[in-house]
Amino acid sequence: ASCVLEIVQVVNVLCAAMDMDTENEKASLRHCVCEQGLLNRCDGSARLQQGSTSVMVGVFGPAEVRMSKELSNRATVEVTYKPKVGLPVVKHRALEQLIRCTCEPCILTALHPRSLVSITIQEEHDDGSLLSCTLNAICLALMDAGMAMNYPMAAVSCALMTDGDLVFDPTAEQEKEAKATVTSIFDKSCADVVSCHAVGALTVDQLDRCLEACKPAAASIQQFY
């Protein structure tokens, strides 16, 4: 699978050998609650709550597309992100692009040329792991809409703490204390990373370790689907 890597800050740090604390690594994901089909004007919708982080997603498609945006061989995917407070700013636009690049290979766009798949995300509450909650909610909404998909994508966040521990599905407080937070998205086999977004300072080895550790968590999300 193609791998889209976006690293905001990667600094080569001489790190001392870190003992992996296996108990912490097996820390489970927060309790997930999902509702599908709650918006009746959308073709598909879902609300996902991971702990206190809550996101609602509405999907339209395949729908009519403006001539300027239409693609002759596949569907155009459009993502709109609405923050809880205030108007969308530049960082939300960047998030929209990241989400769009992650979702496009996931949807079978070749089945619907010259049409539009429109994904609208409303952030309801951010208590950490917002990106992974958003992507999982998008996957659920796409399934509710009956969009043909290549694979159900599973997104997992993990935070690398200053003492070397990995915390899965971090809350907002844990994210603030962490050295770095990595969100990785896996395809159905959970062996290939589809996309990865990291915020903070971490070495390539630490990134690899995070990605490897997230795989079992992604498998449990696939089970949830």
């Binding site: 079978l108 619907h112 009956g146 043909a148």
Partner: protein
């Protein structure tokens, strides 16, 4: 996904083929008709035009070059030529206005082309197709429409025992309903929406 050795390619709704494997592309119930036909039954609201399906559309555009634009709920409006009505000729044009409800059959529907529909069979007869007068058109899910279109559908049989009404079901999720009083029409519409979920005993 599971491995199946098949010699002929299968294109069926909700399922795609990757080499030897047949992989589900949508979420739903996997159905199997022996020997090798698999498909996914799902309940979506958005219609993707399929050729030879009967659909209910609403005329949205005035005829440009003698072709009406009909909204069938897909990504593109369908084209309906004014000659595709029973008894229509160049001099005898059908009386179709913008906003009319049309019941017709899709003759061209592929992912790359704009869909085209017709209101006559090959022999030139209408067979119930054409403009639907009065009545109420409403949108429901594709799954419910498929259930109603089944021959001797239990839902319609149960309703038919108690009420007098005329119903046309489009494969695109649209249902046209007409009954003697307005309140009865509305009541029937509301209950049909939830009827899809009920089992046979609950219907009674």
């Amino acid at each position: 996904s599971f491995t199946l050795s098949v010699t002929t390619p299968i294109t069926s709704p909700g399922v795609r083929r990757e080499g030897d494997q047949i992989i589900a592309a949508k979420s739903g119930i996997l159905r199997h008709r022996p020997p090798v036909t698999y498909w996914i039954d799902n309940n979506q609201r958005r219609y993707v035009p399929v050729v030879e399906e009967f659909v209910i559309g609403i005329v949205t555009g005035k005829p440009s070059m003698d072709v009406y634009r009909v909204d069938i709920g897909g990504s593109m409006p369908a084209a309906l030529s004014y000659l595709n009505f029973e008894g229509a000729t160049k001099r005898n044009r059908p009386s179709v206005q913008v906003g009319d409800t049309i019941y017709g059959q899709l003759i061209v529907a592929s992912k790359d082309m704009e869909p085209e529909m017709t209101c006559v069979t090959v022999a030139g007869k209408a067979n119930g197709m054409g403009v639907l007068e009065d009545g109420l058109t409403f949108q429901s899910s594709l799954g419910l429409c498929r259930e109603l279109l089944v021959a001797e559908s239990p839902i319609l049989a149960a309703y038919g025992k108690r009420f007098r009404f005329e119903i046309t079901v489009g494969a695109n999720g649209r249902i046209w309903l007409k009954s003697p009083s307005v309140s009865q029409t509305i009541a029937l519409c509301n209950s049909l929406d939830s009827a899809g979920m009920l089992s046979t005993e609950q219907l009674e």
